[in-house]
């Protein structure tokens, strides 16, 4: 860290926005510290000799003439081993360490490094003395957790020749290698810094073709998101945004999860903190905390730091992407971030656009979602960042600015429906308003990797659901009895699909996670049941007779009765369905 010096003095304080008179020159977006407690902030505006600072801590008792310190670098995060399993606030202060000092509450002015300075990590070099290295070269590895190998990558813009490199136990600050560059010898440690508002460089964007498997049937089967894709989950309060995000954080097949609690409840972060060390990752069978990083800037924490929190999170995500990992970022909720932007903008007396949001809301959203993607990284490996952003529209009305602008930048949309949530149909993802624009590529992945008929079955069920929407409109006018049996059967089959397939209780031990194979069986069973049932009706059977079939009941309860490991039972049930006609 560069030495701090006084760059100005306070002139005005209005909540988290502090204006100061400049004493020595400073740069836009540099970190500044305000008052004797060195409250951390960022210079967001320079006009003549007045700087505006957004302060990430409570500004109580900050007064005119208080000093403003500059440290001559933009707001950055620390990157290196020790991020995994940790929980940080919006500007990457380690909350567990803060607790050790202040117990229950977060006091302002606490300055602690994000990464433990004493802990030793075992570093194993991958390059040798004399080797040419450039940005992206993997210098060596550290086993960060049982499942994640941390690759130490030469940070840009360094390049040159390895002068020497060590093997053994080091703290993050100790030198592990020296690189001879054109301008001299550079000492390299495992600790790097990166400005949070600047995307980390990559070689190329590559097409996202594989789905992020989430174990949630309505997602994987109906509205999948690609690894490296962008997705929004909008919904009114209590419709299930957080639960969806937590389910994905638990069960999705990303290598690394960055979970950002942005202006939401403290208890939700606690829930993750307490449950993840207990829960096992289905792939590795090791506690989920091994692959998880939490950023918690809860609703009662300073609002300016909430604005920063999503950048802190995405930068950490990019860092692991650069090691070649598939990272999924959950941002709950992007609306709270947008509101922070609005509050700060208001305090800076900027001209508002729609609903008081600043005119640059859309640009900022675009910049954020742009940081997702599957990339060919500088090290030559592919890695990806998937963003899943919750949106909390006021009054549950999707026509508001944050939902509308977000829609322009995402490609999968999981619309949460109040009516479904009220019925306790969870996840309350509407099969009418949701969509996925990744279907073409992901359909290919399923057809090639799981079953060539996947796309076919999926489109058959979607067609049925569409038909049912129209039939429900008729029912609302004339009642179900007015429909012929064949149409009633469509309604019944859709009801079966909703109950037995779409609904998935996050707290049911057998049902909370569904493997792709199980999903496919369930889908096939229901679609085939419908097709054979429709045929039986044509042959003169009644609806009642079909509903009394043994398979009917079995299908309704299969999700509770047959687990992921009992695919044979699904196979048997499918065969039984196939025999319906005989």
């Amino acid at each position: 860290m560069k030495k701090e010096n006084i760059i100005g003095k306070v002139r005005r304080v209005n909540g988290p926005v502090v204006m100061g008179e400049v004493i020595t020159s400073c740069n836009m977006l540099d970190t500044a510290q305000v008052g004797e407690e060195h409250l951390i902030g960022e210079i967001v505006k320079i006009e003549d000799a007045i700087i505006t600072i957004q302060v990430y801590e409570d500004t109580t008792l900050i007064r005119p003439d208080d000093p403003i310190y500059g440290i001559g670098m933009p707001l950055s995060v620390e990157l290196g081993p020790g991020l995994l399993g940790n929980i940080f606030d919006g500007i990457q202060r380690p909350l567990e360490d803060i607790q050790k000092i202040h117990q229950f509450f977060i006091k302002r002015g606490t300055q602690l490094p994000a990464l433990d300075r004493k802990k030793k990590w075992s570093f194993a070099p991958l390059v040798k003395k004399g080797e040419n290295v450039k940005p992206g070269t993997v210098l060596g590895t550290v086993q960060e957790t049982k499942i994640i190998t941390h690759r130490i990558i030469l940070p840009s813009p360094l390049q040159g020749k390895i002068k020497d490199i060590k093997k053994g136990e080091f703290t993050v600050e100790e030198t592990i290698a020296r690189v001879e560059t054109e301008t001299g010898t550079e000492e390299i440690s495992m600790l790097q810094k990166w400005p949070i508002r600047k995307p980390r460089p990559v070689r190329d964007r590559v097409p996202a073709t594989a789905p992020l498997i989430t174990g949630q049937r309505v997602i994987d089967t109906l509205f999948p998101v690609a690894k490296g894709g962008c997705c929004a989950v909008p919904g009114g309060f209590g419709t299930g945004k957080t639960l969806v995000q937590q389910q994905l954080a638990k069960w999705s097949n990303a290598d690394i999860i960055v979970y950002i609690g942005c202006g939401e409840r403290g208890n939700e972060m606690t829930d993750v903190l307490l449950s993840f060390p207990e829960l096992k990752d289905p792939a590795s069978d090791l506690p989920l905390m091994n692959r998880t990083i939490l950023i918690a800037n809860t609703s009662n924490m300073p609002v300016a730091a909430r604005e920063a929190s999503i950048y802190t999170g995405i930068t950490i995500a990019e860092y692991y992407r650069d090691m070649g990992y598939d990272v999924a970022v959950m941002a709950d909720s992007t609306s709270r971030w947008a509101e922070a932007l609005r509050e700060l903008s208001g305090r800076m007396e900027e001209m508002p656009a729609e609903e008081g949001f600043p005119p640059y809301l859309a640009t900022r959203l675009a910049e954020f979602y742009e940081r997702a993607g599957k990339m060919n990284t500088l090290s030559g490996q592919n890695g990806s960042v998937t963003i899943i952003g919750a949106v909390s529209p006021p009054g549950g009305d999707f026509s508001e600015p944050v939902t509308q602008h977000t829609k322009r930048f995402i490609r999968t949309f999981w619309a949460l429906d109040r009516h479904l949530a009220n019925e306790r149909h969870y996840p309350a993802i509407s099969w009418i308003d949701s969509y996925s624009e990744y279907l073409d590529t992901i359909g290919k992945w399923w057809d090639e990797n799981i079953d060539p008929q996947w796309s076919l079955f999926r489109s058959q069920i979607m067609e049925l659901l569409q038909k049912e929407v129209r039939l429900q409109q008729v029912i609302k006018l004339v009642g179900a009895d007015a429909l012929p049996d064949s149409q009633k059967f469509i309604v019944e089959s859709c009801r079966m699909f909703k109950n037995a397939f779409l609904q998935q209780n996050a707290f049911d031990q057998i049902d909370m996670y569904s493997t792709v194979k199980r999903q496919l069986f369930m889908l096939k069973i229901i679609v085939r049941f419908y097709q054979h049932g429709a045929e039986l009706l044509k042959r003169g059977f009644t609806l009642l007779q079909i509903k009394e079939l043994d398979v009917y009941k079995k299908i309704l309860r299969m999700k509770f009765n047959y687990s992921n490991d009992e695919l044979d039972k699904y196979e048997t049930l499918l065969q039984q369905v196939e025999r319906m006609l005989s």
Binding site: G236, N300, K476
Partner: protein, 458 residues
């Protein structure tokens, strides 16, 4: 340093704000004692400070202040209140001054009323089921110790009656523990406060109740500080003394109005319905002051009450509240008009913390599925009723008729109960099964076969 500097005469008075110029350097959010010409002391805090001017918000309002003779003393500290165990059982004003003629509390400890944010790593997840004896709550929207669960009501509905019943009956089954109640009144009428006081008296808990009253007749800006004083004291009781504290805050809509007033006077850009854009964060700074902490015995459970203007749940006050709290108990005018007490709306009500805190070994094994089934079946009732209003009841299918029967029974037997009827969780769950018996067994697809075998009476 500049402690207690006093100015005689101010520059301007704008509604509840006073503005001073040419002061020394004054801190943001600094506490100010304002003295009027008759020597009466008011309290305020600094909202905006600069070399040019200082804006002070006066909680008791500015009525009677004049430009020349008003004194302002800047205290070089934020607004603090004393906290001591002796405050329990007493009555304070909205700014924490005694209203019960007893002396001002003395304590060595003073706390900033704004509190500090709780560190999420210091929290522990609330899991203990509180039995309120009210079926609609215990069965379907279970209250958990440390939860923040508001009552969304409408004008003229029975929120006070329900809140009083919950306070009377709430207990953790099989546990006796130190409990305390903090009652916060914001802009409610005197008779509401008295209704609660009478209730506390009748149930013999009055000595455990501490009140912070900012009534309808008090200046509206005072309400902004009232819940903060109360929660500061509640935190002390819970996290320093280990009490289980139930905080009742009524009426949050009045609080939000006061916030809107100040925001309008300051000329801030209004958000929806004129409320400031930071209403969410402001409400969160209150509601988040609840929960349980790892290294403390106590807890804070919040039961805020708010009246929804025009019964509109999408109005900013209930909407933003719902986005922060851990569920909501919604009261429904239609049920109320049909004489059903408590008129807890079947579908929009929700308790988010019940998921981990009910079921086997906690309440009863069938509880999670039973609750889910009741919600699902009742949702179907609503659909059938809507359909019946279009096509007439005669045209409904036999199954639809069964749903109507179930709906009626659910509302009349399960939801309805006397204001003094205290049902055990077993009674509540059995009642749930009883009303489900109006439906054919095949319809109960949220329940397992074993559960149906064991409990279903149909």
């Amino acid at each position: 340093m500049q402690d207690g500097r006093e100015y005689i005469g101010i520059k301007e008075i704008v509604g509840p704000l006073i503005i001073l110029e040419k002061t020394h350097n004054i801190g943001y959010n600094e506490f100010v004692e304002v003295e009027d010409k008759n020597g009466q002391i008011l309290s305020g805090v600094v909202l905006d400070t600069s070399k040019e001017a200082v804006v002070v918000q006066v909680f008791e309002g500015t009525m009677g202040l004049d430009i020349k003779r008003t004194k302002a003393r800047f205290k070089n500290k934020p607004l603090m209140i004393p906290v001591t165990k002796e405050m329990t059982g007493r009555i304070f004003s909205g700014t924490g001054k005694p209203l019960d003629r007893a002396p001002y509390p003395v304590s060595r400890e003073y706390r900033n009323v704004n509190g500090d944010p709780v560190n999420p790593t210091a929290r522990t997840y609330p899991r203990k089921f509180i039995q309120t004896g009210v079926s609609s709550i215990d069965g379907m929207n279970t209250l958990i110790r440390g939860q923040k669960l508001p009552i969304f009501s409408g004008s003229g509905l029975v929120h006070n009656k329900l809140a009083a019943q919950i306070t009377r009956q709430a207990q953790i089954v099989g546990e006796r523990s130190d409990f305390a109640i903090v009652f916060v009144a914001m802009g409610v009428k005197n008779d509401v406060a008295h209704y609660f006081i009478k209730n506390f008296e009748d149930s013999g808990v009055l000595q455990n109740v501490t009140m912070f009253l900012s009534l309808a007749s008090d200046p509206s800006i005072e309400r902004l500080i009232t819940p903060r004083c109360a929660l500061t004291f509640a935190e002390f009781l819970a996290f320093n003394l280990g009490y289980h504290v139930l905080v009742i805050m009524t009426d949050m809509s009045n609080y939000c109005e006061a916030l809107r007033e100040i925001s309008t006077i300051r000329g801030e850009i209004p958000g929806r319905k004129g409320y400031p854009g930071y209403l969410y964060s402001d409400l969160a700074s209150l509601y988040e002051r609840s929960g349980m902490l790892k290294d403390s015995k106590g807890s804070i459970t919040q039961l805020p009450i708010l009246t929804m203007p025009n019964d509109d749940i999408s109005h900013p006050v209930p909407d933003l509240t719902g986005y922060i709290t851990e569920g909501q108990i919604v009261l429904e005018r239609d049920l109320h008009n049909r004489g059903i007490y408590p008129p807890v709306a079947g579908l929009p009500s929700l308790s988010r913390l019940m998921k981990d805190s009910i079921g086997k070994d906690l309440t009863r094994e069938d509880h999670p599925h039973l609750a889910s089934q009741l919600f699902a079946s009742y949702a179907r009732v609503k659909d059938v009723r809507a359909l019946a209003s279009v096509i007439g009841e005669e045209e409904l299918t036999p199954l639809d008729h069964q749903y109507l029967k179930f709906g009626e029974s659910f509302e009349r037997e399960f939801l309805s109960q006397d204001e003094y009827e205290n049902r055990s969780i077993e009674q509540t769950l059995d009642m749930g099964w009883k009303v489900l018996a109006h439906l054919p067994q095949e319809e109960l697809n949220r329940l397992t076969e074993e559960e149906i075998l064991k409990y279903f009476a149909g």
